[in-house]
Amino acid sequence: MQTVTRDALIDRAVSLLSDGTVDTVLGWRKGLFDYDVTPSTFKTVEDLRENLQWDDHCGANFSKYLIAQTKKTESKVLVFLKPCDTYSFNQLLTEHRFDREKAYAIGIPCDGMVDAEGNMLERCVNCKSKKHVAYDELIGEDGEVLESGRFDEVKWLESLTADERFKFWQDQLSKCIRCNACRDVCPACTCEKCVFDNPKSGIENKAPASSFEEQNFHIIRAFHVAGRCTDCGECSRVCPQHIPLHLLNRKHISDINKFYGEYQAGAEVGQRAPLVNHADGDVEPYEIFDGGDVNA
């Protein structure tokens, strides 16, 4: 159950829409079933009152939608942001992906979201923050950054031998059907032209010809968002094959924390990401395994 009610959201959105502050509302649209929620735009008050949904199934992160939507309007776009969404919001601002003046962000508290089966999402079990890092106004109470066990699974994987790790990832990644949902939903994947969309590359379509291609796809994608991934967990949420993609991103995050100091992407606007930065005395690539399991 969410502490903030649907009515509170609708009341605020309706008043902002009616007085002309915004002309578009980004929200969760009701579907056929409870869990069947679609990210959508609302232009009219009637549509909002009738079709906006706000409950435990509203996992979608709207930050990325702002890029397209703010370009389409001369007015402002109202967007509802849960605490973890605000990190993506900040990260996109850092990368100058949309005009801050054209976004009206309402922060709403979140008590955890569930998947279609009603189980709490992994990212919510290991929630990293209940604190909004960006908003124009807030409905409800703001929370705190939390201590979470989100790196526990990464540590467990690291403790295995190389062969066991390889088997684990083969089992997981061979399930991939290359639907590209993880890429399409990722707020850090905002290139106008994606490297995987090159028709000449031979890796554009689905129907994997070999499992190795899948591996490369996910390594490349994880690396492209390294240092910019806010760990919003959208990739794992949308994966139809339930591949734990967040474990790849969290590996990069935990490495960055270990090698270059604690860093949370999106915590502030204008932060310099670790991979576009450098310092004297950075760890050498041949030193990273020191102290690790050298026999693995």
Partner: protein, 144 residues
């Protein structure tokens, strides 16, 4: 698994200003290093996109080594600092996915270090030869 007469295929990305000149010096001094080391000249070690490394593995390389100027000596002032961070992250990720960590390496070789270049290549070729063929990241479609 080691096959009789097996020679590893090694791709070496060498920066134009230091390591490529280092390789040249090794040649001038008639220092032997394995002929299976294929050198690709890049303007700077930071030109090497992590995808290049994966591509090399996909196309059948058994080991990939990056050579650049010593940190602080980069022709473009800071290129190899970025390489250092990038490759540390990439190698750590490859290890996490279960790819043998000995297959990748970064080595700083200056233009005056012909001997170091030859020694590095000999050592790396030996290490990779012990591991045998790269089975974990190869792409069967690329096999000839």
């Amino acid at each position: 698994m080691q096959v009789e007469g097996y020679k590893p295929l090694i791709v070496a990305f060498c920066c134009n200003w230091c390591s490529y000149a280092g390789a040249d010096l090794a040649g001038n001094n008639r220092l032997a290093y394995p002929a299976d080391v294929k050198i690709i000249r890049v303007p700077c070690s930071c030109r090497v996109n992590p995808m290049f490394v994966l591509r090399a593995f996909q196309r059948g390389a058994d080991g990939v080594i990056l050579c650049g100027c010593h940190p602080g000596d980069c022709h473009y002032t800071s290129g190899n600092f970025y390489t250092r961070r990038r490759m540390a992250m990439l190698f750590s990720m490859l290890d996490y996915l279960g790819i043998e960590r000995e297959r990748t390496r970064v080595e700083w070789v200056s233009a005056a270090e012909g001997a170091k270049f030859a020694a590095t290549m000999n050592d790396f070729a030996q290490t990779v030869a012990k591991l045998g063929e790269n089975k974990r990241l190869e792409d069967l479609r690329c096999k000839q």
